[in-house]
């Protein structure tokens, strides 16, 4: 575990302990009882935050998953299963997992709106089932047995808090892992995530599985909290309200989950004391959620932003790890013997059509090992389509693509990426809420931190702990390139990496691109408009127009060919000149 991880985990433990002690020691019993509800709701919200906040999918059945956990605990209580409540709660969480996976399955490849519909329908169906089968022990008024140590209301508060802490710690570690970064990546752009080698179905399903597990835990805890349960505890409206609260408070952050838990529990209490109807709370949550969606900022994020600006105003030192000066680039990819090995990437008679329109036809091209090859051509010449086809983002194409002799046909995008065909995008698709270092870990797993810093320094990116959203758009494009080369794949396909850069920046980038084969061992295919950059970086270029190759060879010669000038400048220039 890295130092920053340890620090934040420790901070989480200390904050939770202090807050817990304060509640336990200072508040009257009734408020401790309420605080327990806050904690249990916060657990459930953390699970929801993982799916909706982190992975960006709408889930409207969180309380149904909780219901599965609660039902399981109730049943284990009736049959007097060994282990007692702590074991039962965990089993309840596990019981919810298959449901989460099953609900996630039909929405794997489809847009979030379908997921919203399927989860809402599941919540409705679960309502129907619960109303019919009732909770184990409900009719006989058999209360769920609490562990002796935590039997009192104060004791049960500690019990719930321990679970909250375990979940928060688990999620904190998860959020720093590659999987956690992958959640953010698929929310931001599924294609870009796949291009980094992330399996979209697995990532989505694991988000659902974790979320259902956590919801199941909270349901089990609720069973122990209330003793007996009724189906209304887990109704569809509860799920919907929880979704609104998660959206409003920002449940993907630990403090957002607590804020949400307080809103759900304490707001009705406040209304009750003011003599106002308690159900008005949901109206407020709905408005709050709409406001958060409109402004793009949740309560927890607002809190963090204000705290950060306060820290700056007060001149307090901000936590900053020691800067590492990067000098050690990762070892280049072991190159095969160029004499015996064939070219890295061979594209043979590639053809792509969209309905009647032929986007590419009969394009053959090869990228020799250790070289930078340029692919240029006017607008609409099919260059981006070419990259999409090679990297597996098109449903079908004609011809063949071979990487070091191995045909890639039939492999999905993320597997091609893992095999060593990596790409960048015309507009950067880096998740803005990742740090620069976390993005590099996502793009190139297994780098040592000094190697990471060296790659960033090489291309001119800020230090690893900078947040991507604080990085200007031009530098993000460099980070995009840094990510693919740091993974040291067999070949990288760069799609207009210099678009939007100033002239000097573009030339500097060109020199870096020219160094890639030597420093990282990867071959490069560069798609670019900027001819100065192409001349500077490439040893060979291929020119496309109307989806066909019209010229190829060394840059200086090809760019002077009449057919190329004609493609770029217009149809009849040489007639005019003549």
């Amino acid at each position: 575990m890295k130092r920053a991880d340890l620090t934040s985990c420790l901070a989480l433990v200390v904050t939770t302990a202090v807050a817990g002690l304060a509640v336990y020691g200072l508040l009257p019993a009734y408020w401790v009882f309420l605080a327990t509800a806050v904690v249990i709701t916060a657990i459930s919200l953390q699970g929801l935050g993982l799916v909706t906040g982190r992975a960006g999918m709408i889930a409207l059945c969180q309380m149904s998953f909780a219901g599965v956990g609660a039902w399981t605990v109730g049943w284990l209580n009736v049959i007097e299963a060994p282990g007692g409540l702590p074991v039962w709660v965990v089993l309840g969480g596990l019981a919810a997992v298959p449901f989460g996976v099953a609900i996630g399955l039909p929405a794997l490849r489809l847009r979030g709106i379908n997921l919203a519909i399927v989860t809402l329908a599941f919540a409705a169906a679960f309502d129907v089932i619960l109303a019919t089968i009732t909770f184990p022990g409900q009719t006989s008024f058999l209360s769920v047995a609490r562990p002796e140590l935590f039997d009192s209301d104060e004791g049960y508060f500690v019990f719930a808090l321990l679970f909250y802490l375990a979940v928060a710690l688990g999620l904190s570690v998860l959020s720093r892992s590659r999987l956690g970064s992958a959640f953010l990546a698929i929310r931001h752009s599924e294609r870009a995530a796949a291009a980094l080698g992330v399996s979209i179905p697995l990532t989505k399903l694991s988000a659902f599985a974790f979320s259902a597990f956590i919801a199941g835990l909270s349901g089990g805890l609720l069973a122990g909290y209330l003793g007996t349960l009724v189906s209304e505890n887990f109704s569809m409206m509860q799920s919907l309200a929880l979704f609104a609260v998660a959206t409003m408070a920002g449940a993907q952050l630990a403090e957002g989950a607590i804020i949400g838990g307080m809103l759900v529990t304490l707001f009705p209490e406040l209304l009750r004391r003011l003599g106002l109807p308690q159900d008005v709370g949901n109206v407020l949550f709905a408005l709050g959620a709409v406001q958060a969606l409109a402004s793009g900022e949740t309560m927890a994020e607002t809190l963090r932003r204000n705290l950060a600006s306060l820290t700056v105003k007060l001149g307090l030192p901000r936590f900053a790890p020691p800067a590492m000066i990067g000098t050690v680039l990762p070892a280049p990819r072991s190159r095969r013997d160029p004499a015996t090995a064939g070219p890295t990437l061979v594209i043979d008679r590639l053809g792509v059509r969209y309905g009647q329109v032929v986007a590419l036809s009969n394009v053959s091209l090869s990228v020799p090992a250790g070289t930078v090859v340029g692919l240029i051509g006017p607008n609409g010449a099919g260059k981006s389509t070419f990259i999409d086809a090679v990297t597996g983002f098109l449903p079908a194409y004609e011809g063949s693509v071979r990487l070091e002799g191995r045909p890639l046909e039939g492999l999905p995008a993320h597997e091609r990426a893992r095999l060593g065909v990596r790409r960048t995008w015309q507009t950067t698709r880096i998740p803005p809420d990742l740090s620069v270092g976390a993005y590099l870990d996502l793009a190139a797993p297994g780098l040592r931190s000094e190697e990471r810093a060296a790659v960033l320094a090489w291309i001119g990116c800020p230090s690893p702990d900078t947040l991507v959203q604080a990085v200007d758009a031009g530098t993000r494009r460099l980070l995009d390139v840094a990510g693919v080369v740091a993974a040291r794949p067999a070949v990288v396909l760069l799609d207009e990496p210099a678009a939007g850069q100033s002239y000097d920046q573009a030339l500097r980038l060109a020199r870096r691109i020219a160094e890639i084969p030597k420093l990282f061992g990867s071959s490069v295919l560069l798609v670019e408009h900027d001819m100065d950059l192409v001349r500077c970086a490439c040893s060979q270029i291929t020119v496309c127009d109307f989806g066909q190759v019209i010229a190829s060879g060394p840059p200086m010669r090809v760019l002077e060919e009449p057919v190329v000038k004609k493609a770029y400048l217009g149809i009849a220039l040489e007639e005019d000149a003549a």
Binding site: T52, G56, M57, I58, L60, L105, P106, A107, L108, R109, L110, R111, G112, I113, N114, A116, I117, V118, L120, A121, F122, A124, A125, D127, V128, I129, T132, H188, S189, E190, R191, M236, M237, L240, A241, F243, A244, T247, P277, D279, V280, G281, N282, V283, F285, A286, L287, A289, V290, L293, A294, F393, P395
Partner: protein
Amino acid sequence: MNALLTSAVAGLTAAGAYALLGVCAVFTFRLVAVVNFTGAAIGTAGTFSMIGFISLGVPLWPAVVLGILVGTLAGALIGLVMTQWFSESTATTKAAVTAALLVGIVALGLRLTGGQSPKEFPTLFPGSAFRLAGVEVTVASVLTVVLALVFTLLADAFLNRTRTGLHLRALSERPMAAELLGVRVRILALLVWAVTGAFTTFALMIIAPQRSPDFMSLSLLVVPALAAALVGAFRSFPLALAGGLTIGIVEGMSSAIDGISQYRGILPFFVILAVLLWSQRGARWDEAR
């Protein structure tokens, strides 16, 4: 056999309502690109307003008209929120907004209508229309099915034969190109929201006496409605119509079978599951991302 037919016919009213709500959902999605979770709630608001007007002494039919007016306004109000703040948002964000709004509308509705205690609803169209194989078919059930059909045909005719319809079709295909041609896109979007508000309100007025008539249950009719819309892939009016009718009729039939009847509310879930699993065979990359 006869029992099955009786219950199938009994499901007709619900079938017509599901179909109409489903077609409205398709209408909204096709024209303003929003999956609307508040569809049924808007209609419910209008329906309960009608009850309110009646209790204030307004005669039945004027109250119906006023109720539809309230539903129309409620629809337009949601539309205003969507066009004002979320016109540039992704489909997912828009769906999240309507899901959140549903929470608020139901809470507000329950508060204003006195919670989940059932209300007395006037039956707008009492009596039976005709007998089919010895089974009474009620006027209400015929009417909802006819209304769903009429809305489908009207929507089709309106879109294909009027200038506003032409603008709407252009808008649904390329909103920016339509705006660049001077089409008043925001007003048109509001119109779509208002019209669906009016129709769902009327549908819910007819069906309300046959359901557990509290604000929440009626609002949650959005689930079978979205299942029906999904059958039409959020594109086809006739398929959504057929989907809604099928769900309603099968639901009705299942109520005749012991051991299944209490689980009939699960049906929309299985329809959605089946449609999604079938329709994603070839799907790969989300266009936008």
